[in-house]
Symmetry: C2
DNA sequence: CTATCTTAGTTTGTGTCACGTACTAACCGA
DNA sequence: TCGGTTAGTACGTGACACAAACTAAGATAG
């Protein structure tokens, strides 16, 4: 097999990862975007507007997304104490349990995947991805993954 | 920032990559799944059934996907010469041009992203991803990305 | 050869997801 | 308090995915 280039490699890898995540989420009857929503909310309690930016969606899309998540008991809309127009989106306990369950399955997939590589390669890969994400976060303002909530 | 683990890193990276691909595809008014379809068809001419397996979709989903792609002049249904029930899905020239255009944009994104890393890291990353994909393909039967079409 | 079984694909109905536009309510600055 | 902005929702549309029911054609058993 010819050595693959960075562009195709990253594209293929991303489909692989997303596929695993989607399957694991589906085991618990949640979609990929709902799972992503929960992941973003794990350490934040944003307004609808902030959520739209974090997810890269239109605000009207977020309304529907949160409607469906709320109907399923995964999030709640909390009125903002400082702005009566605004609501804060908060995870329910049920959602936190769901995150743990989906994460466990997904972690097993990733472990199996990278487990085929030798130990040194694994740590190298994790390290490189960490550096890539850090560099990207530094170059852009928004960071989907910080823990400063 | 605390060093991220492999599982979260891969998840975040995959969202980053898919986001870039989706935006580049949207510039040419195609969706992510349509783009993925075209990528899969680049070096194949599968039946609807085979396509369903390659994309991990239900056969009825593929009917709709191909309907829309055909309506946009991206693919054609060619009757199978050996089985009158079956059709082969083929790319149009217009689709091949589209692939080139979307790829160019996406490649620019990836280049910009990994361009923030030192040269050695870049080659290491590409190499590691290649090894990961190769190992995964070896462990599973199907390989979405071979060129044996 | 035909009755039956299986396979390829479509149709139909349902739900999710995303968007743009139009709207309401609330905030804010002059 | 008036006019402009901002937060969020409502509505209509289209893409996407699924399951179940269906048609047509291939395959197989007798």
């Amino acid at each position: 097999m010819a050595q693959i280039n960075t562009v195709d490699g990253l594209a293929q890898l991303s489909f692989l990862i997303q596929g695993a995540l989607e399957r694991r989420a589906a085991e618990h009857d949640v979609s990929l975007i709902q799972t992503r929503l929960l992941g973003v909310l794990r350490d934040r309690r944003p307004t609808m507007q902030e959520l739209a930016k974090l997810l890269g969606l239109d605000k009207s899309s977020v309304t529907g997304l949160i409607d469906r998540a709320e109907r399923r008991g995964l999030v709640t809309r909390v009125p903002s104490p400082t702005d009566r127009r605004s609501s804060l989106v908060d995870l329910t306990d049920r959602a936190r349990e769901l995150i743990v369950a989906v994460s466990a399955g997904f972690e097993a997939d990733v472990t199996a995947m990278v487990g085929r590589l030798p130990e040194q390669d694994r740590t190298d890969l994790t390290d490189l991805i960490g550096r890539l994400l850090t560099a990207h976060a530094a170059a852009h303002g928004v960071d989907l993954f910080d823990t400063t909530g």
